[in-house]
């Protein structure tokens, strides 16, 4: 998104970047960081976060007040997001996939598109569903492939679609 992201007021307070010792404050701080991270990735439509890179991003390093959240702090937030089901550790080291929209929500969007285009009972390629011109205006256009696959897995669970392959080509059949 070209629009700049507006940080909440708390982001300008130095204590926010220090993991608080007092339990109550600590929990409140964690909650606010989680919300902030989700808002941030949602705004920029990021799906994956590399911890080594993001530690230098404006999200965790407020240059104006010269405060940054430590790597431990960032991990602390990511663990909480994983615990809540909003994120998942990626296979690669130090990388997190963040679901600012859950796979179930993505699944709904994809299925709604299929219904609106009367695609029940038909087969389409993965490319067609995710990258073709037909879906350019859709929210899930060029969605991170892992998140997309997870969404398809949800649809399979809900008996709304079948993912299959033929000669290394992946296709989706809506039921």
């Amino acid at each position: 998104q070209a629009q700049p992201f507006s940080f909440p007021a708390i982001h300008n307070l130095p204590p926010f970047f220090t993991v608080q010792p007092v339990l109550n404050t600590n929990q409140k701080q964690l909650q606010m960081w989680c919300e902030l991270v989700l808002d941030y990735v949602r705004h920029f439509r990021l799906h994956e976060v590399d911890l080594m890179e993001v530690v230098n991003s404006p999200l965790f390093w407020n240059k104006q007040i010269n405060r940054r959240l430590s790597l431990e702090g960032i991990k602390w937030i990511m663990e909480e997001l994983v615990r809540r089901g909003n994120a998942e550790w990626a296979i690669q080291d130090q990388r997190v996939i963040i679901y600012w929209r859950t796979p179930a929500e993505w699944a709904n969007l994809i299925y709604t598109y299929a219904i609106n285009n009367a695609m029940e009972g038909t087969v389409c390629t993965l490319y067609e569903l995710r990258e073709s011109e037909a879906v350019e205006k859709e929210e899930f256009f060029e969605l991170d492939i892992r998140v997309f696959r997870k969404a398809l897995a949800v649809l399979e669970q809900q008996q709304k679609a079948r993912v299959f392959s033929s000669n290394n080509n992946v296709g989706v059949k809506f039921l």
Partner: protein, 215 residues
């Protein structure tokens, strides 16, 4: 074309659905659509190359390198030829895909009609004509029987009803006599000549009348 050649053998397979709900047909359609996607990506790429060659040619002309520019445009011409062929292939593929989908629909319709016809046949076999005739006869007999009972019952009822009706009639004719208390209708004549005189004469008329009564 490789895919299209192998189509002959695959098309003869009846598209039975396998356990996971994916039939052989589905796989074939997937392969066709993948080919279509690949061709589509290819045409996009060629278009990009063509545009780039034109830009380069323009730039070269600005620099006065006419021969090099001409060479660029020749390359572009060649690319355009490729593009045309690719687009023709794409057309064929789309047509094939559409035809398969349409044929599948037709096959489905035919299958459903077959099912409908066999169901109809079975239902018909459950109702033989003889059975129906027998049934109608039974029904007619039962109806006749019912009507006979009806006439019997209705005959008896009318007699009872008649007695009731007569009783009610008598009650009705009696009631008006008891209720009305009208005064007796007078039957003596009223003297008309004395009545026409008004004022003082009237008391004299009454006097003479009283006298007439006492005499």
């Amino acid at each position: 074309t490789g895919v299209l050649n192998s189509m002959g053998g695959l098309l003869s397979l009846f598209g039975e659905e396998q356990q996971d709900g994916i039939s052989q047909h589905d796989k074939v359609v997937l392969e066709l659509k993948t080919q279509r996607d690949n061709l589509s990506k290819y045409t996009k790429k060629i278009n990009a190359v063509i545009n780039r060659e034109v830009e380069i040619a323009r730039q070269l002309l600005k620099e006065g390198k006419r021969d090099k520019a001409k060479y660029c445009l020749m390359k572009k011409k060649f690319q355009e030829g490729l593009l045309e062929k690719a687009e023709a292939n794409l057309c064929n593929l789309e047509e094939m895909i559409n035809t398969i989908e349409w044929t599948q629909i037709q096959a489905d319709v035919l299958q459903k009609i077959k099912l409908g016809t066999s169901t109809l046949k079975e239902l018909n076999s459950q109702m033989s004509l003889d059975d129906v005739e027998d049934l109608l006869l039974d029904t007619a007999e039962a109806v006749e029987h019912q009507q006979q009972i009806d006439t019997l019952l209705s005959g008896r009822l009318t007699e009872e009803d008649e007695a009731d009706v007569l009783r009610e009639l008598e009650e009705l004719t009696r009631e008006p006599e008891e209720e009305l208390e009208l005064p007796e209708v007078p039957n003596h004549k009223i003297s008309t000549s004395e009545n026409t005189r008004v004022g003082s004469n009237s008391s004299q008329a009454k006097k003479s009348e009283r006298q007439a009564l006492y005499s």
